[in-house]
């Protein structure tokens, strides 16, 4: 993200209305490598390809803000790998982390990883350190510390079904587990900030909070998200594209000031639930419109979304989730052009 884009992002988060509105997208391994003509595994394992694919996206769509920007990631395996989760790699599929905990009781023996040494985390840092000079020569900086959220990591360690059952059957153990994942996250975010002083934002991704009731979110979600986001940074960005009506009113209490959410709710609904405190990044259907539609479909969906939203402050038009696989260049161009035309 270049300086102008960062300043625009911060301005929108602070409530300034920009005309035209900026368009922003989360981009990562599900879309970027295949769009650039590479396999997912090559993208993960080749630093040059990682850099060039990111630069290609930035140069193809210079007016779009790509978030978090140069996201050094290994799909869902990044954080679980630090806990010892085996990672499964296919040539062109997302990697998958195998479970570490076979029963809730095994939480008792779980140790907090060291982000400086464990799993793939040193690879994440080194890749960015190796590339940082070139990223900066291209006019960009690393702005975000990024991680999966505390509940998301917990489900990768023990399985989603098992975790979501155990919050009912073994709540104390699950609080213990979330305490460990959160302590780890705090260290991991601090370490990323230490390595890259240009970081002034945190992005956490956690769809699991969308699967629980308001009461369970207040017990098992909010305290841990709040602690994970508790750092002196300007942008606190949260991604959850599961249904999140139940937790939405609590998200400002976690410190979040930028939210990417799914297609289950409208922009106006989310604004009503979260108040004026959170900037919204959304939410044209990513799969059915942005990936599967034509440019005309994208134009229609963006127009309908903007016409239906009765506000322009704290709004960054995007899709409801990360950029999905298979989105063609012309659909992104149609999205950006429509936003620019309608919000002048």
């Amino acid at each position: 993200m270049n300086q102008e884009q960062w300043e625009t992002l911060v301005a929108v988060v602070r409530g300034e209305t920009r005309t035209p509105l900026p368009t922003g997208f989360i981009i990562d391994c599900p879309w970027l490598p295949n769009w650039a003509g590479h396999t997912i595994l090559d993208y993960f394992t080749d630093e040059r390809m990682f850099l060039e694919d990111n630069l290609k996206a930035i140069r193809t769509f210079p007016s779009a803000i790509f978030l978090p920007g140069f996201w050094s990631e290994y799909g869902m395996c990044t954080e679980p790998s630090a806990f010892g989760a085996a990672s499964v790699w296919e040539q062109n599929e997302f990697p998958f982390a195998k479970k570490v905990l076979r029963s809730p009781a095994e939480v008792d023996a779980l140790e907090k990883p060291n982000p400086r040494k464990d799993g793939l985390l040193p690879f994440v840092i080194k890749r960015l350190q190796h590339l940082e000079p070139e990223i900066e020569r291209a006019g960009h900086k690393i702005r975000f510390a990024v991680a999966r959220g505390p509940l998301n990591i917990a489900t990768f360690l023990m399985g989603a079904t098992e975790f979501l059952t155990a919050i009912k059957t073994e709540p104390e153990r699950m609080h213990h587990l979330l305490g460990i994942t959160t302590d780890f996250l705090v260290d991991w975010i601090a370490y990323q900030r230490e390595c890259f002083p240009s970081i002034d934002g945190i992005l956490l991704l956690d769809d699991i909070v969308g699967f629980v009731s308001r009461r369970d979110f207040e017990s098992f979600g909010l305290p841990y998200l709040k602690r994970s986001f508790d750092a002196d940074v300007t942008v606190k960005f949260f991604h959850n594209d599961a249904p999140c009506k139940a937790c939405a009113p609590c998200l400002p209490d976690a410190g979040i000031n930028l939210l990417n959410f799914g297609v289950q709710h409208t922009l106006s609904e989310m604004r009503a639930w979260t108040g004026e405190k959170i900037a919204l990044l959304g939410n044209v259907p990513p799969r059915d419109v942005l990936a599967a539609g034509t440019p005309a479909d994208v134009t229609r969906a963006v127009t309908e979304m903007l016409n239906a939203a009765d506000f322009r402050s704290r709004l960054i038009p995007s899709c409801g989730g990360g950029m999905p696989p298979g989105v063609p260049t012309e659909n992104i161009e149609a999205f950006i052009a429509t936003v620019a035309a309608l919000t002048r």
Binding site: V88, N92, L164, K168, F211, P243, P325
Partner: protein
């Protein structure tokens, strides 16, 4: 409150112990085991599926209800078998090859079982040939395929092709679901139905069976 009503309430509360106790009391007082399914478990799970679809019930509550249902079925299954009671239909269910996600499949399995279906859960990362073998072995009316990853969608198509190649596709209705799945994808690969979420899967399964019955009746009339 009758024991059958208590059973339904205990299931909705996710209280397995109370559900089993209510089921035992109902059986001891002479209730037909099938009535526990049709008047207790099935309405409770149908209601939870409806609430889940509306966003008023959440995954942990549904999982707890599923646990309670499973424990009651431990008591009921042998009794139903003794009486020769047939399930609504048999379903073989699994997450397709390459995909290790199980939560959507587990929710669908729980709701189907609660709805009186007999479910054979093949687990996750199930290759097409295991679906074929299960169709030959379990003789289901329905095969359910689940996927969470866009990259594993082709495995759904491969599974349908394997069923066709093995000559068993005509014996079963195939329903598919999962985050990346759409109705148009279901149509494109030749599946019989698509469930948008776990809450709608039971209704879809019932419609598929109903459609079967209707088409059989039409066929009989035609001959």
């Amino acid at each position: 409150m009758s024991d059958v009503s208590s059973l339904g309430e205990a299931i909705q509360n996710g209280d397995a112990k109370a559900a089993v106790a209510a089921a035992r009391r109902a059986l001891e007082s002479g209730a037909d085991p099938m009535s526990l399914v049709s008047d207790g478990i099935s309405p409770a799970m149908t209601e939870m599926g409806r609430q889940f679809g509306d966003g008023d019930c959440f995954v942990p509550e549904l999982l707890m209800a599923a646990r309670a249902t499973k424990e009651v079925f431990v008591i009921l299954r042998p009794l139903l078998s003794q009486k020769g009671t047939q399930p609504v239909a048999r379903v073989v269910l699994g997450t397709v090859r390459g995909d290790l996600h199980d939560i959507g499949k587990n929710l669908v399995a729980a709701l189907l079982e609660g709805g009186g279906f007999e479910v054979t859960d093949l687990g996750v990362d199930v290759p097409p040939e295991r679906f074929v073998a299960a169709v030959e072995d379990r003789k289901p009316e329905i095969v359910g395929l689940s996927a969470l990853l866009t990259t594993t969608l082709p495995a759904m198509k491969a599974t349908l092709e394997a069923l066709r190649t093995a000559g068993v596709r005509g014996r079963v209705k195939v329903m598919i679901g999962g985050a990346p799945v759409t109705a148009s994808y279901a149509e494109a690969i030749g599946a019989d139905g698509y469930a948008e979420n776990a809450g709608t899967a039971v209704g879809l399964a019932r419609r598929l069976i109903g459609a079967d019955a209707a088409s059989r009746a039409k066929g009989e009339q035609a001959t």
